[in-house]
Symmetry: C2
DNA sequence: GAGGAGCTATAGACCATATCTATGAATAAT
DNA sequence: ATTATTCATAGATATGGTCTATAGCTCCTC
């Protein structure tokens, strides 16, 4: 390289300490090295930068001019290095996650709490959306990772399989007669079914399953949140198709019960998506580590 | 050195151009060198700074953070280098000269005009004072050079001998009878003598000369400027002791004439003083070059 | 003054490493 | 497919940064 920025660091310390010897100590160099470095700078500029005497060095007029620029420059570099250290230590930075509201609330929440507790300096951005939206966000670089239901097939994405979820039909006291019974699909269809809105992944999966058995699943009620699925089933408005793990509390306390079917409902996995071949931010990789 | 600031320059160009190849071209390096440099930075921080793809590179979140600092830093360095080039080319800077008013006006003025014309970017500071004051200014670093009458004996100073000046006695039409005559010192003392103020170098020199011949020189009138010395002599108030070169115009036009003496008055030299062992500013050394 | 304790400058040797060439691998465009 | 980009990697080379040893200078102390 034609001119070496390293020399500015030496100059900075020499000017700051007023002594080549002290500069050398600060830089873990020997005094002759510093002397040589300053001389190089002076020769390069064709301008004397320091007055030398037996007490040390002081800046010349021109040296002082140079210092006024270099000082700022060096301070910025120091700040930059501190910032990078903070980013590495997860004392600073941000983590942008995309996912569905229900996954945030019922699956990620404890991890998010934990992560935030351990790394309060990292700002969390949660972006909810449908799976295709999340994928778009990822590809546009607006989020670091997406948490969605598998399967995902996209060669640009890397998907890590996470927790296994089991969807099921649940209802409340209004249909207590079904408790313990093992229903067939057509029997189930005689009851009002409550499903999540049309474009959800779970909805598509269960609709397809019914179709494979020759039935058409058309919901009595269609809602936009898991909360409402639970609430409506409890109130007796019908049978909700929900993720079992998300109604653990209600099943436990008995306000909902699961309806046994004579067919096996397919489990789904949660996938953590990131861009393939793109390095993860420290925060993102640390979070993924935590979740898995 | 433990960490190399040179890498930041490479990082800056890679980020700025979005391409390692372009960065290499800008830096007159090869692409593998740049690739290697970036890799080093990333390993040093333990953080990926760029996403690489077949079109080039783009900053990661953390890389963008680093860039926000480094960009400013690099801009400052560039400005610093431009400033230094300007100082070297004498397009910028300042020149601080100490001297007596009379030397500024009658000796330095044309040089100052010339210098200012050639280097309009350099600010001129003229500080007038007595010789001891000028020396103090020099030692305090408040001026770059001093222009005074020789001899100067001070081991801290370097004195360059400049123009030779000859002091002499002059008067106007009122004492026309003296024109062409050759006076002795005691004869001169019968006329009213006008001298410069007590603490001037020229005054001390001529007083001492009279003393060496056994006479006491006491002025009729004592003035504070060379202008008044000239003016008073012209108006016929007495015989002024002035520097011949400074009254060249008046001698030429005949409004003053020089009085011949039977003794040789000692010539003095103008000296240009600078601090010994201290590098001169570009402006100062250029000006000294011009004057000599 | 002599001697000591600072400071910086200089000379010469050494080796770390920045840089190069040559090549590979991956992607995008023709 | 083929060509033209991009960046990554490996290995060789020589530049030049850094060291040790020493000298020169100034200031201070005895």
């Amino acid at each position: 390289m034609n001119n070496n920025y390293e020399l500015y660091k030496v100059f900075y310390w020499a000017a700051k300490t007023g002594s080549l010897t002290k500069a050398a100590n600060n830089l873990y160099l020997t005094q002759p090295s510093v002397s040589h470095a300053i001389k190089q700078l002076e020769e390069r500029f064709g301008i004397a930068l320091f007055y030398r005497n037996s007490k040390g060095v002081t800046l010349t007029q021109e040296g002082a001019m140079l210092y006024s620029y270099i000082e700022q420059s060096q301070i910025l570099i120091t700040l930059a290095e501190e910032k990078m250290a903070a980013l590495k230590n997860l004392d600073s930075g941000e983590l942008r996650i995309g996912g569905s509201d229900s996954l945030f609330k019922h699956y990620l929440l404890p991890y998010l709490e934990d992560f935030h507790h351990n790394h309060p300096g990292i700002r969390l951005h949660l972006n909810h959306g449908t799976t295709p939206e999340i994928i778009t966000f990822l590809k546009e670089g607006r989020i670091d990772l997406g948490v969605v239901r598998m399967p995902i097939h996209d060669s640009q994405l890397q998907v890590r399989e996470s927790i296994k979820l089991q969807d099921c039909f649940v209802t409340g006291a209004r249909y207590a007669e079904l408790k313990g019974a093992i229903l067939s699909l057509d029997k189930l269809l005689q009851y009002p079914v409550i499903l999540f809105s049309r474009n959800s992944r779970a909805r598509m999966a269960i609709t397809e399953l019914f179709q494979n058995y020759g039935y058409t699943l058309k919901p009595e009620i269609e809602v936009g949140s898991v909360e409402l699925l639970i609430e409506f089933a409890r109130k007796g408005l019908g049978i909700s198709y929900v993720t079992r793990e998300f109604v653990a509390k209600e099943l436990e306390e008995g306000s909902l019960f699961e309806i046994q079917l004579d067919v096996q409902l397919p489990p789904t996995h949660v996938g953590i998506m990131t861009m393939r071949n793109m390095p993860l931010s420290r925060a993102a990789s640390s979070f993924i580590e935590l979740v898995r």
